[in-house]
Amino acid sequence: MRAGSDARRSGREYSRRQFGQAAAGIVLFFSMRPGVILGQPAPARLPADLDANRRLDSWLRINPEGNIEVFTGKVELGQGNLTALAQIAAEELDVAFERVRMRPVDTTHSPDESYTAGSASIEATGSALRYAAANTRVILLETAAAKLGMAIDTLTVDDGVISSSGAANRVTYWQLALETPLARNASSDVPLKSPSKYRIVGTSAPRLDIPRSSPAAKPTCRIRACPGCCSAASYGRPVITRS
């Protein structure tokens, strides 16, 4: 309120980000509880959406072509959630952001994450995806350790290349893709990357959905009010350009 009226008086323009930062301070103040200040123990349970869809291959697929497909039950409707989720997956897997392919929701293969509502995509899907990616990373490292004959705790990952400092042997996620079964359930007992090591999360990535419309951008009817009539949003909607 105050920031807004000050801005109007002074004629200064506040960006959404500046406004959000100011507002976040207020929200943080009210939500501070002893638990937050004293630090949180690692959860014994999986994040709810991962608990409901435990199979890792319902979230992630490593492809030999050098990319990672990510599935979510949340819909992109302009909030930028797919871009943020791609960042979270890339971060936890230690691969470049550009390697992540976000797959739009399709009930035949997407995890069931209920509604896309309540500003919950990052909280719900992001935490699920973080654990799913961390599990996947461990499985890849286990496979690599056996293949390279090295201890798993000596291995590091850089953009999908697994190596051990001082050793010439290396193997990539993409080479391991076909021999790494992800038809396994996620575990909550998995090491997560420390936020202090984040390089992708927390940076501003260009939105994946802004420039593009899908090549087969036929409007997809989601809501039918009457037979043959269509009031709907579409996948790959033309926003700024259209192929």
Partner: protein, 156 residues
């Protein structure tokens, strides 16, 4: 009574059979499959349906098909493609000037009409030109910056 109208849209001739008072928007979207223009308010108040008819940015949701006549119609699809975007589209992408994107068709097309008649508008003139285009998400400042950058030829 339905009649057949010949209209020129994005440099292509089309024959459309419809009542003359059919809103141009319905013809563009339903008959020609051009979904760049959006149905927003249906009352010419929000600007989401904007296309350029002749040289003017027009609210196509209330603009009758019979009024098009010989004037060429330009929609977002006629401006550029993903592979070959128009400088305005490039600038909107560079500035990430969209949240949900529903208003953006109108923003881009209104800006196109503005730059066609005034290639070097001031910020005040840009704001004035877009005053009737509503956006509920809040990317207004980015939109203005994108148009300024397109006008300067500064878009990458």
């Amino acid at each position: 009574m339905p009649e057949t109208y010949r209209i020129r849209v994005n440099a292509a001739e089309h024959a459309v059979t419809a009542d003359g008072d059919t809103p141009l928007l319905y013809v563009l979207r339903n008959d020609l499959g051009l979904n760049g223009p959006k149905f927003g308010c249906g009352l010419a108040q929000c600007g989401a349906c904007t296309a350029i008819v002749g040289t003017e940015a027009i609210r196509t949701c209330l603009f009758p098909l019979s009024a098009v006549g010989d004037a060429p119609v330009l929609t977002l699809e006629g401006l550029g493609t993903v592979d070959r975007p128009h400088p305005l589209q490039k600038a909107f992408i560079a500035e990430q000037a969209a949240q949900c994107g529903y208003c953006i068709n109108g923003m881009v097309m209104t800006a196109k009409a503005l730059l066609d008649r005034n290639p070097r508008p001031t910020r005040a003139e840009i704001r004035q030109a877009l005053a009737g285009n509503l956006c509920r998400c809040g990317t207004h400042l980015r939109i203005v910056r994108a148009i300024e950058s397109a006008a300067k030829g500064a878009a990458p």
